[in-house]
Structures are given as C-alpha cells and as structure tokens.
C-alpha cells in the first residue's frame, strides 16, 4: 500500500499544516509517512504545496511522483500543481475558488464560513473530507492529531471544522462535476 497525496493552495491557507496533520495521523495509525512541502519566499500568497506519502513500508524517495489524490484550494496552485496525476487519481478542488471542470468540486471554504462560522478553518474542513476519502484511519484518530497541532483555545472550532469536512464526505462522497 502506498498513497501519494498532494495538497496545494495559496500560502496562508494552512495547506502545509493540513499535510503535517495528515502525515502525523498516518504515523499514529502505524504507517510510514513522509510530509514534504514547497513554497515561495512570501509568508502569505504564492502557490504552496504540501505532499504526503503514506506507505506500509519505509519510504525512500520522499516526494510525490504521480498523485493518487490531489486537493487544490486556489486557482494559481491548481494551474501550477494540478499535473503529474496517477491514472484514476481523485482530484478535489474548492468549488468557489478553483475552475477545474474535470475535478470533483466541493465547498470547503463555504462550509468553513457558513457551517463552522470561520473561514480560517477551511484547511481543517478539507482535512476532515480527506480523512473520509482516504479511509486509512478512524476519524477519532485524525481529530486527536488535529487537536495536538493547533493553538490552545481553538479545539472546539477545529473539532467542528473537522466534523463538517467529514460530513461533507459522508453526504457528497466523491462527487464529480456534471
């Protein structure tokens, strides 16, 4: 088993943190996991990419070659990183931020804003969805990992965001644009 996941977006959207939490959750579940990242010199803005390899054996080459799962949260990131996909890859984009007709479009930002109440947790909503999509470890383990990686006092907000993302997966699944 080897899954190659690429998450991309704009610097400041929490792309890298989402990858870190996903990788750590995989490690906690007993998998070998590596998270790498690349971004420009800006602290906000610019295309950012976070990649996670999850395998049941040791990972040598640490970067994603052909992504099995690609998530894009911004148009520039999609334009730049929306390539090098494995055959039959699952491609998920934010329905309000990315124009990508061939991708599965989901309202991550809208859900964070309307259902959870804070746009800032868009990355955690996306992570909740991704947890369901990957189906490698229980939601509770992912939640525990999220809680270990966020600032104090934001537990409830992030728990709600993760749940909203998971609900999105449970209700929508991998919905393709039609």
């Amino acid at each position: 088993m080897r899954r190659e996941i690429r998450i991309c977006g704009t610097g400041g959207q929490g792309i890298i943190l989402a990858g870190v939490i996903l990788g750590e959750a995989a490690m906690r579940a007993g998998y070998c996991a590596v998270q790498t990242q690349s971004y420009g010199p800006e602290s906000r803005g610019g295309a950012a990419r976070s990649e996670v390899l999850i395998s049941d054996s040791a990972v040598d080459y640490p970067r994603v070659t052909l992504a099995d799962v690609l998530v894009a949260l911004s148009q520039p990131a999609w334009d730049r990183y929306g390539r090098q996909l494995a055959e039959g890859a699952t491609v998920v984009v934010d329905s309000d931020l990315v124009e990508a007709p061939e991708a599965c479009r989901l309202p991550f930002t809208l859900t964070a804003e309307k259902t959870v109440g804070r746009k800032i947790v868009t990355n955690i909503v996306m992570l909740g969805y991704l947890g369901g999509l990957l189906d490698l470890f229980p939601h509770a383990l992912l939640e525990e990992t999220v809680l270990a990686n966020i600032p104090p006092g934001t537990g409830e907000l992030n728990r709600a965001a993760l749940k909203a993302g998971r609900d999105l997966f449970d209700s929508e699944g991998v919905r393709h644009a039609g």
């Binding site: 750590e24 490690m27 996991a33 790498t36 970067r63």
Partner: protein, 394 residues
C-alpha cells in the same frame, strides 16, 4: 561550564519519544541530546526553524540561545562560549555559511569544538532561498583558507538529523574541531517519524580537560594522541588563544617555520589519522552488479528509490551511502567499487562529491554524475536512466 544533565527536565523539553518531526527541529532535538547548552545564530531560510526550536528548549535547560547581528558574530559567539566550557552550536544556510568561513578557520586553528548545521539551499549567493541544494559540499571542506581538516556528516532522514547532530557534539569535543552537519532544505523542512533515545543512555562525551596543574600545563601540547587538553576560561589556567601560528604554549610564533609545520600537520593529522574511526557508511551491494551508486544526504533517498526500482525491473545495482563525507571515506569507496565498472554520483549540484569519489578511485572505476539544480529532487528514474545510458561526465 554545562550543568550536569537533568534528565527529567530534558525529557520534558524534548517531548514525546515518538514524534512526526521536521528535519530542522530534529537537529535541535539532537543538539539537546548532545548536551548543547549554547546557541547563537541569525535567521535564514531554510534553517530558521533550528534557531526557533533551540530558543524554546535551551533556556528551559539552563542554556542560552541568542540571535546575533549576523552569521560572523554568530559563530564568533559560539567559539567564545566553547572556551567557557559550553557545548555550542550555530545553524545557517549557504549565504550565512559563506560568512562563517572565517570563523571556521579560526576554530580549526584554535582547536575550538563547535557544531555548525548547514541547511543547504540553492545558490550561489542568495539564490533560491526556499529550495534545497547540495551546493556547499566542497565549501564545507575548502571554504576557509589554509590547510585544515573538517568533519562533515550528511543526514538523509529526519531521524539522522537527530542522531548525527547529537554525534557531532561528541566528535567536536573528542577532536577539538568544527563538526559540520550538512543537511539541506528538503530534509530540513521534511517531516518523518523520529524516535528519541532512552535518556538513561544519553551521556555526552566530556571534553578532555587539563590533567596537570596550571603552572605546568602546556595548552597546545598534544597529550591525548594529537588532541590537546582544553581548559575552560576562568578556571585558573593560562590559555592564550590566537588564530596566528602559535607554539605549544599558545603564543604567536609567526616566523617559525618548524612551529607552523608542526602545528598545522598536527591539526590535519588528528583528523586524517582517525578517518577509519570517523567513517560511517551504509553499503547495499548486489551480487553481480557492475554499476554502483555513491550518494549522501537527501540524494541518497533518490538513490535508494532507484535501487528499489532497479531490482523490481531485474537490473543489478549496488549502493554506497556516505554518512561521513569528510574526512572522505576513501577506503570504503575503494572497497565498494572492487567489482564495479562504473559509479554514478547523484547530487543536487553540478558535481562536487563526484570529484572526491573520482580522486579516491584513481581510475579503479569510471565515475559519472547525475546532477540537478533548481530546487527539484533527483527522481529515481533519472538515476536509472543514467545506469542504462550513462550519466554526465566528471
């Protein structure tokens, strides 16, 4: 003088024994395990996280972490701290590493133990700040002027960032020499599982302090093999410390050819004589292979990927990974190529350690390279292509 290890407090500072840690943070954890109690540095991508992590940890252990005005001052502060008995470290990337070359030479000449982590990024000059490279490898050996030797280790995983940074402190103390941990922006920012050692087994190697009384102590006499005993400032010993050529008492002897020759030969030989002891390599030899890879650092991950793919495809391929890069493990490389016709060296530069390999082999096998710059990793397929079709010439 560093306080005795408070293992209980150290355990709290280090955190969980299993972590999903970033390479830079792992270097900081390794430093704490190595007994580091002084850090001075200047922020620079992609090494800043080391400074951030030690700033959180060292004060809680009674140590010091300071941000200096630049990298020259950072290494100078480290060297001063070392003479007060500290186990001291700095961390930087290419542009800062260039500025530190003067201090590295001073550390070699004054035999001041110190650890320098260079999280290499794409150069020359400020280059691509956020992109990894292995472009400082020969600078590590020859960046500072004059004859000298250096110890340089190259981690290829986050776990090795812990283990080799920890080891670097012991080697610095044992040989009284700068020890370089040559990592890169990819490993520095990569996260993987690490396991921290049982703290009961953590016992940093102590510096060899004077065994004679102050009135008979000769500070630069090689009492210990070729390494002199080192007094701490403020303990009653007279130690004149200078970058000028000095005699065994430490006083300048700049017009004395014999004193200079004796001193600099000893500085070099204390490292080169120990090459076998310092050599750490990982050999993965395949029976019947005629081609082998020699790799180090992050490129070793690409090489290991190539070996895996090769074996899946029935191609025979051997692999030697250098953990110690300097002193260059010539004998290990020669031994590795015994049955090989060709050796390929993948590096994130336009060819650096491949020259050391070719020099060591002296024609025993043909040396080729797979070079990549610009910030992307070398893909295992690129190495396999070179195995089948030949790499770039060295």
């Amino acid at each position: 003088m560093p306080a005795e290890l408070d293992r209980r407090r150290m355990a709290r500072v280090l955190g969980r024994s299993e972590q999903f840690a970033q390479g830079d943070v792992a270097c900081a954890l390794g430093a704490v395990l190595g007994g580091c109690d002084f850090f001075a540095g200047y922020p620079i991508t992609p090494a800043t996280e080391i400074a951030e992590a030690v700033s959180r940890m060292l004060p809680r252990l009674g140590g010091v972490a300071i941000q200096m005005e630049d990298e020259i001052a950072s290494l100078s502060a480290v060297l001063g701290a070392a003479w007060t008995g500290s186990r001291a470290m700095t961390a930087t990337s290419g542009p800062g590493f260039s500025l530190m070359q003067e201090g590295i030479g001073y550390a070699c000449m004054t035999e001041t133990p110190c650890v320098i982590v260079d999280v290499q990024r794409s150069g020359p000059s400020t280059g691509q700040p956020t992109e990894p490279a292995q472009g400082d490898m020969l600078q590590a050996k020859w960046g500072t002027h004059g004859d000298h030797e250096i110890i340089a280790l190259a981690p290829s995983s986050v776990q090795e960032c812990v283990d080799l940074t920890r080891l670097a402190f012991d080697l610095a103390e044992e040989y009284r020499n700068p020890v370089l941990v040559m990592t890169d922006g990819e490993i520095g920012h990569m996260r993987e599982r690490i396991l921290l050692p049982d703290l009961a087994d953590v016992e940093p190697r102590h510096r060899q302090r004077p065994s004679s009384l102050p009135d008979t102590f000769v500070p630069f006499a090689a009492t210990n093999g070729k390494v002199p005993e080192m007094p701490d400032f403020g303990t009653g010993y007279h130690a004149y410390v200078t970058g000028l050529t000095h005699n065994e008492r430490g006083f300048p002897a700049t017009d004395d050819a014999d004193a200079h020759t004796r001193l600099v030969r000893r500085l070099c030989e204390k490292i080169t004589d120990a090459t076998e002891r310092l050599t750490r390599v990982e050999v993965d030899s395949e029976d019947g292979a005629r081609v082998g890879l020699v790799s180090y650092g992050i490129s070793a991950r690409s090489a290991a990927g190539a070996v895996r793919l090769a074996r899946e495809r029935g191609i025979r391929l051997s692999h030697l990974r250098l953990v110690t890069v300097f002193p260059f493990p010539e004998r290990a490389v020669l031994e590795f190529v015994r049955d090989l016709d060709r050796v390929i060296v993948p590096e994130l530069n336009l060819g650096q350690i491949c020259h050391s390999v070719r020099e060591a082999l002296a024609g025993a096998a043909r040396v080729e390279r797979v070079s990549r710059i610009g910030g992307e990793m070398i893909h295992p397929d690129e190495i396999l292509h070179a195995v089948s079709h030949g790499g770039e010439p060295v």
